[in-house]
């Protein structure tokens, strides 16, 4: 299994979109740094993410959410909150990490 990491805002770059195009069913995707903006309710990308949750395990890094003034209550239902320790576990649990830089 693969862990995909996305660190850019979906408004700014195409990395999340491309990650979703190539990730296989059951893969994990971690949104961190400016990537967290994709995990929030009320944005233009909410529908895309809700659809993606049917195929992938999606995680978001809480320290990056909080730094940017967002609240975990506003994270789309089904996206799992995690921290750096959880990030480490995700890396350990998956065979390979693929960064969408």
């Amino acid at each position: 299994m693969l862990l995909h990491t996305v660190n850019k805002s979906p408004f700014d770059r195409n990395s999340l979109e491309n990650c979703l195009r190539f990730a296989q069913k059951g893969h994990s995707i971690l949104l961190f740094e400016d990537g967290i903006y994709g995990a929030l309710t009320g944005t233009r990308f909410e529908t895309l993410l809700k659809g993606a949750l049917k195929s992938y395990n999606i995680y978001v890094l809480v320290p990056d959410i909080q730094a940017r003034g967002m609240r975990t209550e506003n994270v789309i239902d089904g996206i799992k909150s995690t921290d750096y320790a959880g990030f480490v576990d995700l890396v350990a649990e998956n065979k390979t990490v693929q960064a969408w830089l």
């Binding site: 990491t5 660190n7 961190f32 740094e33 400016d34 320290p63 921290d83 750096y84 320790a85 990030f87 480490v88 576990d89 890396v91 350990a92 390979t96 990490v97 960064a99 830089l101």
Partner: protein, 130 residues
């Protein structure tokens, strides 16, 4: 488990080095081994001993140096990327006829083979960049 870390961006300009630091610290806390942290592209600028950030901000370079000291980390700066960007150790400065060097304690300059080796020897490679 044995991890390797690749940092592709310089300090302050992008979050990559901060994220890599937090990740490395969390991995060590969980008892994982960090085989190597490799600094490539502008990532080499994380190794400058001449940085003087504002007093109320984090000191990215010192933070890496201290983590390396505490956990005996291998912090490797890519020589080719470093030369292009003016990051030199004493040997490199001499070899290139430069009158100063600027590498911080705890970092060493070496070749790209060290990155490949890290990929082979470690069970996981995690890349932080722009």
């Amino acid at each position: 488990m044995k991890f390797a870390i690749l940092v592709n961006e310089g300090p302050y300009q992008h979050q990559a080095s901060d994220s890599a630091y937090q990740f490395t610290q969390a991995a060590l806390k969980k008892g994982h081994e960090i085989f190597r942290v490799f600094f490539y592209h502008d990532g080499v600028n994380n190794a400058s001993r001449l940085t003087v950030p504002p007093q109320d901000d984090r000191h990215i370079v010192n933070r890496w140096s201290e983590l390396a000291k505490a956990h005996n980390l291998d912090l490797v700066v890519c020589i080719a990327a470093a030369q292009r960007r003016g990051m030199l150790d004493e040997n490199e400065a001499k070899r290139n006829g430069k009158d100063a060097n600027n590498i911080a304690e705890g970092f060493r300059i070496s070749g790209l083979g060290q990155l490949i080796e890290a990929g082979i020897q470690s069970e996981r490679l995690v890349v932080f960049g722009d």
